[in-house]
Symmetry: C2
Amino acid sequence: MVSRKTVARMSRYRRLLASLHDEGVESIYSHQLARHAVVSAAQVRRDLMVIGYSGSPNRGYDVGACIESIGSFLGASDRQDVALVGVGNLGRAVLAHFAGESAAVAIVAAFDIDPDLTEHSVHGCRCFHASRMESLVRDLGIEIAVLTVPGDAAQATADTLVRAGVKSIISFAPVPLHLPNDIFVEYMDITAALESAAFFARLGGRDAAEAGDGEIEPMVKKLESLLARSNMKLEDLAENIGARVITPGRPGGTEVTRIYAGDRVSDLLNEATDKTLLVSNLASVQMLRVAELMDVPGICFVNGVEPEPEVVELARTNGTLLLVSPAGVFETCGLIYAHLAGDARS
Amino acid sequence: MVSRKTVARMSRYRRLLASLHDEGVESIYSHQLARHAVVSAAQVRRDLMVIGYSGSPNRGYDVGACIESIGSFLGASDRQDVALVGVGNLGRAVLAHFAGESAAVAIVAAFDIDPDLTEHSVHGCRCFHASRMESLVRDLGIEIAVLTVPGDAAQATADTLVRAGVKSIISFAPVPLHLPNDIFVEYMDITAALESAAFFARLGGRDAAEAGDGEIEPMVKKLESLLARSNMKLEDLAENIGARVITPGRPGGTEVTRIYAGDRVSDLLNEATDKTLLVSNLASVQMLRVAELMDVPGICFVNGVEPEPEVVELARTNGTLLLVSPAGVFETCGLIYAHLAGDARS
DNA sequence: CAAACGCTGTGAAATCTGTCACGATTCTCC
DNA sequence: GGAGAATCGTGACAGATTTCACAGCGTTTG
C-alpha cells in the first residue's frame, strides 16, 4: 500500500516538473529533482519506482513523460470535483488559490450558511446555501470536500458530508473529526503548526549549536587540499549549506579546488581560476562578465538576493553555475568550510 | 530528541484539554483523551510521558495540571511573537484565525508589498510595508514567521526572514524552500493535501471493500453471544465504527449484550433491557425518556444528527451513553456487526 | 483486610519511513 | 567495438514512530 507521504511528495514532484517543463527542461536526473524538492535522490528514485515510471540511465527521467505518469497515478483520468464548505476568509483564500489552477481537481461548489453569500460566485465558484449541501453533493457525485468552517461546526458538517458520499476531507478546523476509518482526512491544523514552529524556534539556538558540532580548528590552509580531494559537486555543497541553485552549471558537474570571496574586480582578475567558486555580495552583470572572462565555473551570491533576470539569463547562456546563499559572505564561507571539514573527517 | 509529530500532537492535546476544562472536566483517562484526539491510548500515555507529567492510576490525569505541564513544555514562559508576510486572502484568514486566541504565540506584525494595505490594521494586527520587514523583524526579535505570499516570492521572502533572524517558518506557498537546515520549516501545502485527498478518495471504494473483508456469513444469531463474550466497551466500539460520544455513560464502562435498532416506542418497551444498546433514527427527548424508563445504558443516533441541547442535557443527567454515528441505521448496525465478527475471529 | 480491578508508566516488539549500496543499463569517447 | 562513466532500480539496512504487554499501584468491594 502506498503511503500518504508518498502521495503528497508525488504531488510536489508533479508541480516542480511542470514548472521545469515550462522552462523547456526536457529531462532531469534524480538528484536534480531531489534538490528542487528538498528530498534525497534515493527518495526520488524510490517514489518514481512505485508509480512504475522508468527513467533511462544517462538521460535521467523525461520530464514530460514523468508528469504524465504521475498524472495517471494520481488519477488524471477524469476530473475530480471538490466541494468547499465555509466561505469565510479562509474559504475564499482556498478558492482563490485553486481558481487559476487547471489541475485535475477543481472546486465546483461552495457552501455557507450566510444567505448573503448564497447564490453568488466567489472567485468563479458558485456558492450555495448549506441546506442544499447534502443533496447537491450527493447528486454531483462529489467525493472530496474542503472544510473551512469554524471548529464547533466542523463535526456536524463532516458527518453530513460523509452521509452525502464524501470519501476524503481536508479540514482546516482545529478539532479532530470522528469519522468512519475508511474516510480519508487530512488536517491542516494551523494552530498546531504555529505552536510547533514556536517550540522549535526556541530550541533553535541550542539545536543549531549542536548541529554545527565541528571544532573550529585552524586548518584554513588545508581548505584547498580538502577541496581538491573531495570530489564533491558544487550542487551537493549548495544543498548542504542551504543555498539554492539558480542556474545549472556545466554538464557533468562543476569541479572547484578554490573558493574566492570578494567583490573587487581587480582582485578577482588576479585570483580567479577555472576551478574557483566565487562568493560575492555583488549580484551584478558586471560580476558575471568577469566570471566569464576568467572562465569561473560557479558564483555564489549571498544574503538571499534575487538576481536580476538579466543576470540569470547571462549565467544560463554562459553555463555558469549560479547559487544564492541565504546567509552573508562570512556565514556562507563558514558553512562551506564546516561542511568540507566535517566531510573530510568522516 | 522530541519529534515534530509529537509536538504537533501536544498542541492538539492542550486545546482538547482546555475545552474539556471549560466544561468542568477535572480528570481524564488516557483512553478518553485518546478518543477525543483520535489517536491510541498508548500514544497518549507515551506523549505525556515525554513531557514528564504523571497521572495517577484510577484517577487518570488531572486536566488542569496537564494543561500546565504541556504549556511549560511547549514554552508558556514568555510570549513568542510571530510575523506574517503576505496579507492576501490567506494571510487575512490566518490573522483572523489567531485574532481571538490569547495563546502564548501572537502575530504582532504583518507585511505586504501593497501600499494600500500598509500602515493599516488588519484583524487587529498592524500591517507594514515589506521594505521595512527585515529591520523590524530583527529589531523586534521575531523568530517565527508565517509565509502567505505567492509561490514565486516565497524563496526570496524566506531568505530575507532568515537573514533577519527568523528560526521557524510556516509556509503556505506551494514550493519547497531552500534554507539552512537549522531552520524549522512547516509546509501547509494545500495543493498536495487536495491531491492526496483526491487520490485516496479514488482508492476509497476499493480500499473500504478490502477493509471490510469479512465474509458475510449468516451468523446473525451469534451476535448476542458475541457481544456477551466480548468484553468490549461501548466507548471502544464507538471509536471503531466512527461514531462520536456525546455524553459519557455510567462510570466503569457500559456493558451491553444486545443491540436493538428501531424507532417504535412500543417495540422498544418490549425489547429493551438494561444491557441493550439502542440504535435509533429518532433523536428526540421522547426516546431518552423511554430509555430511562427501561434503564437502557446507551443510545446511538444515526445520520450524524446533532441532538438538541435538551436531549444532551437529559442524557447527561440520566447517565445515558449517547453516541452519534455518521451513517444510517443499516450501515451503523453493519459496522458494529462487522467489527464484532472481526474481533471475535482474531 | 485481602482480593480484584483498572489505570499508568515503560521496556520490548512491530511497523513504517527513509537511506545506502551495488548490480544493471545506457551513453560517450577513443 | 570496447572501456569507462554516470545513472537508474532495488534489496538490504537503519532509524524513527507506534503499538503491545505487563509490572506496579491506588481504589473499591466483599
